[in-house]
C-alpha cells in the first residue's frame, strides 16, 4: 500500500518535473530577455524621460503620466474610440470569414495548391515593408475604385451612397487582408479532424450541416479562441494602428517623451487585456449556451 502511494507520488513529482522541463526554454528566455524590458518600460511610465545626447535623463513624476493620458489627452481618447470600433466590427467578421475560407479551401477542389498559395499572400504582404509600399501606392484598396464605371454611375446618382459603399468596400478589403494567418490556423486545425469520424457520421446519415456543428466546430473550437486572441492582438499592435502610431509619436516627442509613451503603452496593455478577457468570456458563455 505504502509502496503504491509512494510510486504514485514519485510519478506525480516526475510529471511535474517533466512539465517544467518542457517549458524551461521559455522560462529562461522570459527571465533573460523579456522580464526586464517589461519592468523597465513600466517603471519609466512613472518618470519624465528625456533622451539626450549624453544619455537618458529621468525625473520621477508619480502617476502623472497615467492620469494625464486618461483624463486630459483628447487625441488619445479619439484614437481609443476609433480603435474600439475597429475591434468590435472586425474581429467577429475576420473569425467567421477565415473559418469559411478555410472550409472552402479544405475541400477537395482542383487547383487547391494554387488557391492555398493565394490565401497565403496576406501573410507575406501584411508583414514587412511590402505593405507600406503598397499602401503608399494605394494598391491594397483596389485603387481607382472611383475610376471604375460602376462606381461612376453610382457617383452620379448620389454622392453619400457612393461614399458609403466605397467605405464598406474598403472595410471588407481591410478584413480580407487581416485574415491570412487565421485562415491557415483554421486550415491546420481542419487537417487534424479524423477522416474516419466523418465517414462514420456519414454512414450514420448525418448531413453535412450536422457534421459541421457536431464534428468540425467542436474540433476547431480551441483554435477559434487562439484566432480571436491573435486577431485582437494583431489589430492592436499592427504598425499602422492609430494608437500605436500615437504611442510612437509620443516616444520621440520633445514635450512628452519616452516616459509618457511607456505609460500609454501600459494603459493600452490593460485595454487589450480587458478586451481579450471579455472575448474569452463571451466564447465560453456560447459554449454553455
Amino acid at each position: 500500500m505504502i509502496k503504491k502511494i509512494k510510486s504514485y507520488y514519485n510519478k506525480k513529482t516526475r510529471n511535474i518535473f517533466t512539465g517544467y522541463l518542457f517549458i524551461f526554454p521559455w522560462l529562461v528566455g522570459f527571465l533573460l530577455f523579456t522580464l526586464w524590458p517589461m519592468i523597465y518600460s513600466f517603471y519609466l511610465g512613472f518618470f519624465d524621460v528625456r533622451l539626450t545626447p549624453r544619455g537618458i535623463r529621468t525625473s520621477y513624476q508619480g502617476f502623472e503620466n497615467f492620469t494625464e493620458a486618461i483624463f486630459s489627452d483628447p487625441v488619445l481618447l479619439e484614437n481609443v474610440f476609433e480603435y474600439l470600433q475597429q475591434i468590435i466590427l472586425h474581429v467577429p467578421v475576420i473569425i467567421v470569414f477565415s473559418l469559411i475560407i478555410a472550409l472552402l479551401i479544405n475541400q477537395d477542389i482542383k487547383g487547391q495548391g494554387f488557391y492555398r498559395t493565394i490565401f497565403f499572400l496576406p501573410v507575406i504582404i501584411l508583414s514587412g515593408p511590402v505593405i507600406e509600399q503598397l499602401m503608399a501606392q494605394e494598391a491594397t484598396t483596389i485603387p481607382g475604385i472611383g475610376d471604375y464605371t460602376l462606381f461612376n454611375i453610382i457617383d452620379n446618382i448620389d454622392w453619400t451612397i457612393m461614399e458609403w459603399i466605397s467605405d464598406l468596400f474598403e472595410e471588407i478589403i481591410m478584413v480580407l487582408w487581416f485574415s491570412g494567418v487565421q485562415i491557415l490556423i483554421f486550415l491546420a486545425g481542419l487537417q487534424k479532424i479524423d477522416n474516419s469520424t466523418r465517414e462514420a457520421a456519414m454512414i450514420d446519415g448525418a448531413s453535412a450541416w450536422e457534421m459541421f456543428w457536431k464534428i468540425t466546430l467542436p474540433a476547431v473550437k480551441p483554435l477559434i479562441i487562439v484566432n480571436v486572441i491573435y486577431t485582437v492582438i494583431d489589430i492592436s499592435t499592427f504598425d499602422l494602428n492609430p494608437i500605436i502610431i500615437y504611442i510612437r509619436e509620443q516616444m520621440f516627442n520633445v514635450f512628452t517623451g519616452f516616459g509618457y509613451s511607456s505609460a500609454l503603452g501600459w494603459l493600452y496593455f490593460i485595454l487589450i487585456s480587458s478586451i481579450l478577457i471579455i472575448s474569452v468570456i463571451i466564447l465560453n458563455i456560447r459554449e454553455a449556451w
Binding site: I109, S127, A188, V226
Partner: protein, 312 residues
Amino acid sequence: MNWVFKYKNIVKKILFGGARAEEGIIYKFIIYALLTVIGFVYLYPLLYMLANSFMNLSDLISSSIRWVPSGLYLENYRRALQIMDVTNTFWQTLLVAGLPAVLQTISTALVGYGFGRYKFPGRRLLFLLMLATFIIPPQVTMIPRYLLFSRYDILGTFYTFVFPAILGQGLRSAIFVLIFYSMFKQIPDALVEAAKIDGAGNVKIFYKIAIPLSIPAIVIAFLFSFVWYWNETYLASIYFGNVFSTLPLELQNFADSFAQMYGGAGDSPMNQLNEAIIMAGTLVTIGPLLILYSISQRWFVESVDRTGITGE
C-alpha cells in the same frame, strides 16, 4: 418562408459540399467563383506590381498603358537586383530568417507541449505571463530590449535573433505556443496512456505521438516564423546595424534614399521609373517566400493520412 430554407440549403452545400454528384458541379462552380473573387483582392497588388515592374519609361508615362507593358522590359529587375546586391543579400536573408524560424518552431512546440499536457504548480500564472508578453505592444518594450541587448553585448550580431528564438521569446512566439498548446491538448488521453503502458517515456511520447499528429501546426509555425523574420526590417536594422543586411532592408533603404532625393511621391518620370524598380525589388523580395510556401503546403495534405493513427 420556403425560399429562406432553400437559400439556407444552398449555403450549406457551398460550405460543406453537395450530397449528390450532379448538384456538386454547380456548387463547385460557386466555390471556385467565390474563391477567385476573394483571391483577386490578394492577387491584385501583385499583378499591379508585376505589370508595372516590366514597364519602361514610356510605358509608365503613357496614359493608355495601364496593365499590359508594350514589351518585356527587364531593366527594372536588373537595376533592382543590382541595387539590392541580391547574390550577397539573399543568403544573409535566408540565414536571418531560416535559422530563427527553425529554432522558434522547436522551442515553441516544446513549451506548448509542456503547457498543454502537464500539470504543475504555477502553470496558469506562467501561461498568463506568456500571453502578457504577447499583449504588450512590442513598440513599447523595444527600446528597453535594445538597451538590454547592448548590455549583453550582442548588438550587431546574429545572436539578437537567435537567442530569443531558441528561448521562446522570438517574433510573436506566444502565438505559436498557443497554437501548439491547443493542438497538443486535443491529443486523446487514451492514446498517450496506451503508449505509457507500452513503456514509452515522456520524451518518446512527445516525438513519436505528439509531433506526428501536429505536422500541420509545425508547418504553419515554421512558415509564419520564416515570413515574419524575413520581413522584419525595423528590428533587423536596429539590432544588426550595418553588419548584416536583408533583402527587405535593402529595398527599404533604396526606397528611403530615393524618397529623400526626389521628395517622395509625384508623377515625374524619374519618380515613376524608380517606383517601377521598387516594385521589381518588392517582387524579388517576396518571391522566395512564395516558393517556400508552395513547396511546404504539400505537407498540409500529406499529414491528413497520418492523422489516421488516431483511430480510437
